[in-house]
């Protein structure tokens, strides 16, 4: 099991635009993909449906979903109890870490990806973390990802026994949303399969007004490309 051809990688797939693009980068780089979706008490299923579609489109070898009910510990608008803010300006979005921040989210996601990677003997983990448009999230920064890689290499049997040296890949880390969309488009990502909205309608339609929708729409506009999904509220 020490050599695989092609090498395996675990890709954290949320169903959103960023992780779909990160997955396409991993595929371009020649990895055999194993997708992991964490169902962490999101308030809607549209994202999970999107993750399954994106996994299929990426041609992953296997796609697993791990349920983790973070609503039990609370603390975020994305896991219940706090309203998702709407129609905020760029300045307001940048001013503070938003209530949609999920405590220790990427630490939890990466730790599950690490467990899965160890089982698969995959040294490479891809995450769609982005420091530009999510400058307020501490766990979307290089310092965090570097610390996690250090941790991974003392935390696991495979690393301690010298069989694997884990690498955390965040290929979108320094890209704007517009550049991510251009990159994914070049790599053949079908963004019509992805879901970004924090607060969709019952039928899954994106609200068009939450931070995630505003960022996505702005990204497509700046990239000079048409967003293939529809929104409940038209853009400017």
């Amino acid at each position: 099991m020490s050599e695989h051809s092609p090498r395996r990688a675990v890709i954290l797939l949320s169903g959103g635009l960023d992780s779909a693009t990160a997955g396409a980068v991993a595929r371009r780089d020649g990895f055999e993909l194993y997708a992991l979706t964490v169902r962490y008490g999101q308030r809607h299923a549209a994202e999970l449906d999107a993750a399954a579609k994106v996994a299929e489109a990426l041609g992953v070898r296997r796609h697993v979903t791990v349920p983790v009910d973070l609503s039990v510990i609370g603390g975020s608008a994305l896991t219940g109890g706090i309203d998702v803010p709407k129609n905020r300006s760029t300045e307001a979005r940048d001013a503070e870490i938003p209530v949609t921040y999920v405590p220790a989210r990427n630490t939890i996601l990466l730790s599950l990806a690490l467990g899965y990677a160890e089982v698969l003997e995959a040294a490479d983990i891809f995450i769609g973390a982005n420091a530009v448009d999510y400058s307020g999230y501490p766990d979307c920064r290089k310092a965090f990802l570097d610390a996690f890689a250090l941790l991974a290499n003392v935390a696991t049997k495979a690393a301690v026994e010298g069989r694997l040296s884990f690498r955390i890949h965040a290929p979108l880390l320094e890209l704007t949303k517009a550049r991510i969309i251009r990159l994914g488009t070049e790599l053949g990502v079908d963004y019509g399969l992805t879901h970004s909205c924090y607060d969709p309608l019952e039928d899954g339609t994106a609200c068009g007004r939450c931070d995630a929708c505003l960022l996505r729409r702005g990204g497509f506009a700046k990239a000079g490309l048409t967003d293939p999904i529809s929104y409940a509220v038209a853009g400017e």
Copy 2:
């Protein structure tokens, strides 16, 4: 919310002997306890029942259980698919990392504890990790716990904003099982409430022969104390 009196701590409670003792140390040290049990696809419920009883006996302020289905990613006898080894000698137990190792287990447990701690504004996290009797588990070593503390302090909003500096407490790390049992007994832990067996009978009775049972029985014997629980198979 920046000051609490007494200070809050999150204690990872499995229902086993070690975490019950770590919780008693945290209580002795004056913390207000918030217990977190992670239900990670264990094959039996006896451990979860024990966690609830231990939490009550410790007088925790709140006890939450987060379900995380690790059986999806596989790779351990504790989450299904591999047989739990029985009646192994001390030498055999020490020779290699056992199949009961759960990939990235303590990374996953601590990341969930970190999320809960951030929500509670609790800087202190207690874990019953032990490096003596579990020398084969990479995530029961000081190097791992130190790396996790570094990670925690770059991973979270509360740390990055300077409100909290996370500390990972593993008060049992250097203790033998016999010393853990003596310490807990001094602190009033009722070990009759705890559950250690990896492979109990249907009714929850400990098998007496798996690594966890052998370690526990040996620990009570060396401590010169009587184990209050009963076993399916009598000891020597």
